[in-house]
């Protein structure tokens, strides 16, 4: 067994390890960063695994940094969701980091070489800070750092497009934070606490509270890129370096969503009225349709995948009315968790595979993938496996998620969500097969650039994990249920 001192240190370590490496990479820039980066990624993975093990075996634990209490202290709470997301972050970061390490250094300019790694580890540390935060203020700090490092990572690719996309992203991120911060200030003025657990005991229905929650929700929806506030996402995720796009789509948009989930279901318990929940669901359905439609028609491969993210975020919001209806909260929660995790794995795999395909054909247009299938079978296979999960075909985490959400919708007689879930899958199939159709087309042009085998392996591992989640979902779901504050949820 772990000693108590080590256990107590685990929670902050999950944040501190990537933070240390961010600083190290900043002060020690190297031409070949592997020697520095690889131990960091490994150590990060080890502490995240240890945290998951600890939460799975002994349950939820709290940590108060430096003895400071809220509101200004840093209180961290490791429940199943936090630990699970931390592990997911470590895994996807390792894959994306590995992809970056295998990229030939001549391929880009010095800005990226200088700034990629510090920002990368900073992004990881701030993600973990968001997962583990137990109060509204720490969430804000985590979210703000996350936004800045994400914007920085978009900008490092250095092209003109990237800079303008990054600026647009920055604007959206700042607006979102501002709205959130205003809401938090209102709540603090009313209740004198920022801890979620404290709020849950105090909140009542009144105008200030409603305005505060509305501001928070709008701010976080903007950051999550919920339709129709998604305009900033496709350019940013479309032009970033492939491993960065993967991180952004897989994890960064989920951070603000998880905050929303915690604030509605652990903080403002009972405040989410059914019409409000339905409205969020309707916006989610709009995202599924709009994102899917755009993905069907966009000529650019990475933009296709980015629009797919807009659509897949829609599913997260469709789960909210199902979760709030209380018909079978356990099923809805499990479905939502699987949607978050399997989309993270599948989408990061899809971005990595797309990046590989783009390098191989030397063009980012879908129609230029003609005949690529003969030369890049592994990258396409990874793309396809990820697509299976996104389409929600069995066996995959995406299917299990869709199945559980379908069951909740059917149990509550909410037929419009049944139609949304099924129709969304068809749209997804449409844009995934667009890529395959192009790749099967005959082509006389057989000039393809060589790409590292390791790229394919990493994408395959991520895509395989999203499939595996569908075959062996019970253990991860058990972990993610630990300490979840959904009424009626059987742990």
């Amino acid at each position: 067994m772990m000693s108590d001192a080590l256990r107590a240190a685990l929670i902050p370590l999950v944040i501190v390890v990537p933070l240390c490496w961010a600083v190290l990479c900043l002060v020690q820039p190297r031409r070949s960063p592997s020697l520095l980066v690889v131990p960091g990624l490994l150590l990060w993975m080890v502490v995240s695994l240890a945290l998951c093990w600890d939460v799975a075996t002994t349950g939820v634990s709290m940590h108060v940094l430096g003895g400071w209490r809220e509101p200004l202290g840093i209180a961290l709470r490791a429940d199943g969701l936090a630990a699970g997301m931390a592990l997911l972050t470590a895994l996807i970061a390792a894959a994306c980091g590995g992809y970056r390490l295998l990229t030939p250094p001549t391929a880009d300019d010095p800005t990226a070489q200088r700034w990629f790694w510090p920002l990368f580890f900073m992004l990881g540390a701030s993600l973990n800070a968001v997962w583990l935060a137990a109060d509204l203020f720490n969430m804000y700090v985590g979210l703000e750092l996350l936004g800045l490092s994400a914007v920085g990572l978009v900008a490092v690719s250095g092209s003109d497009n990237a800079v303008s996309a990054a600026l647009r992203y920055l604007l959206a991120a700042l607006l979102g934070s501002l709205a959130y911060l205003l809401g938090v200030a209102l709540l603090y003025a009313s209740y004198g606490t920022l801890a979620l657990s404290g709020l849950a005991e105090l909140v009542t229905h009144n105008t200030t509270t409603h305005v505060a929650f509305a501001l928070i929700t709008i701010g976080l929806c903007l950051k999550t890129a919920l339709f129709p506030l998604h305009g900033w996402l496709p350019p940013a995720h479309g032009v970033a370096l492939s491993p960065v796009s993967a991180l952004l789509s897989a994890l960064v948009v989920k951070a603000s969503f998880v905050m929303l989930l915690r604030i509605w279901f652990s903080g403002g318990v009972g405040l989410l009225s059914p019409p409000m929940a339905q409205l969020l669901g309707v916006l989610g359905a709009g995202a599924i349709l709009w994102g899917g439609w755009q993905a069907l028609n966009h000529p650019d491969l990475k933009s296709l995948v980015a629009h797919s993210t807009v659509a897949q975020i829609g599913y997260l919001f469709v789960a909210i009315p199902l979760l709030a209806s209380g018909a079978s909260p356990g099923l809805a929660w499990d479905g939502l968790m699987l949607q978050i995790t399997s989309h993270a794995l599948a989408k990061s795999a899809m971005f990595l595979a797309s990046g590989t395909l783009i390098v191989a054909v030397g063009s980012s247009r879908v129609e230029d993938l003609r005949g690529v299938n003969r030369h890049m079978p592994l990258a396409l296979f990874a793309f396809g496996l990820a697509g299976v999960s996104l389409m929600g075909l069995p066996p995959s985490g995406g299917f299990s998620a869709k199945w559980l959400l379908l069951q909740t919708a059917l149990a509550g007689g909410q037929w419009h969500w049944v139609a949304t879930l099924l129709g969304g899958g068809l749209l997804t199939a449409g844009y995934v097969f667009r890529v395959f159709r192009a790749s099967f087309e005959n082509s006389s042009d057989d000039r393809f650039d060589h790409t590292p085998l390791g790229w394919d392996v990493l994408a395959l591992l991520l895509a395989g994990a999203s499939i595996l989640l569908g075959l062996a979902g019970s253990a991860p779901l058990g972990l993610l249920r630990t300490g979840a504050s959904i009424p009626g949820l059987i742990p």
């Binding site: 499990d334 299976v388 066996p395 299990s400 199945w403 379908l406 099924l422 159709r437 062996a472 979902g473």
Partner: protein, 498 residues
Amino acid sequence: MSGAALPIWVLASSLLPAMIIFLLPEQTRALRTSVNLAAAVLKIVLVALMTWRVAQGQLTEVRFEMFPGVDFVLRADALACLFAGLSALLWFTTTVYAIGYLEGAPNRSRFFGFFSMCVASTMGIALAGNLITFLLFYELLTLSTYPLVVHRGTAKALAAGRVYLTYTIGGGAVLLLGVALLYGVAGDVEFQPNGALGGVSEDAWPLLRIVFGVMIAGLGVKAALIPLHGWLPRAMVAPAPVSALLHAVAVVKAGAFGIVRLVYDVYGVDLARQLSVLLPLTIAASATIVWGSLRALWQDDLKRRLAYSTISQVSYIALGVSLFGPIGTVGALVHLLHQGIMKVTLFYCAGNYAETLGVHKISELDGAGKRMPLTSAAFTIGAFGMIGVPPLAGFVSKWYLGLGALDAELPWVLVVLVISSVLNAAYFLPIIVRLWFVPRSEPWPEEQPLTGRWETSRWLLFPTVATAFFTVAAGVLASFPFSPLQWAILIARREYLP
């Protein structure tokens, strides 16, 4: 290796070869061929072992939890062995055929990889022990056949692939809805003789009727019930071995097999009759039988005529299932096998004519019997089998279907069978007349030079002759143990006499 885990090994014996073949470089022809054939032989052995266990009545099952409340179940029962046996046998012959057919063609690693995955999906469909596992492999089948349909990469193939996907993915979504609805009523539905819905209260009967309709609509796409059959004739652009596989074992049969499972092992014959959902199925199947045959009459393209013939013939299975009663059941199950053997023979022949003589149209077949006597003999046997000439396999099916119709007191179904047989004769006999009795007046469109002592490549000819032989044997030896007929009778006995 414990016997109970056999289903997993049966599945692995085509999934693992698929993975190996994907990774083999294009040039390693000998190695790829060896892996293919070894896996096909191994699978026949494994399925035979499994069938032996099932005949002894031993439980042969693998299960684990996929996510809370939903299990992955592979179970070998008599029905599973029927379909798995057919798939294993025809996979072997079709693999041999495909090796000859694709000699020198590009992208063979991809082709054989997906080919093996396709068979793995079919095995999974056969062995699935509950609806979710069935759905899993049903969708996997869609995904693994798409690359085979568009294999040639031409604009026509890609367009056909698009239609194929639209139909099958849509059908899959409808089926998912049906499965999810049923799960809401009855929980995790495991297949069992006499149905799994016995405990459902009468209040839920209206819902059960709707669910039945939804699931038939979902399965009907692959089974090519009208009006859901549009994809099948278009999918004919695929290479001949793919068409053979699609029509005889994989896609169309998966739909038909799903209907068999749905009626017997989910609803159960008693409940299905009480809900009176079988008569609409009888009508839909009868309409499809007549419509498919009528359309076949007008096709000059040989493969398209065979495709419409498939639409008609596969609905015999749905028809037999919908006739409540053990005799109709025997007819349906035995036809599941017999149609596969006969249709695969006909498609091999069509492929032989196209590859050897460059002939694709029926009007160009004059005198082919003289140039390719063995292929033409095989075609004649297959066609006579389809018409239902005794003592061939098709006669046995039609005999039991007819008796089943009388037993179910639906004499008009007998009329449908007679009309269909007349139409079968009307579209097959002219071909046979051209093959044997019309002399050749002009050279073949694209004749390949004769190289060996046989009329065409041995890889193409031997599978054709073998399946033609099976067509004869299944009819002549129908009363021997382990013949398709006896196995179908065993299943019917287990379904009706628990």
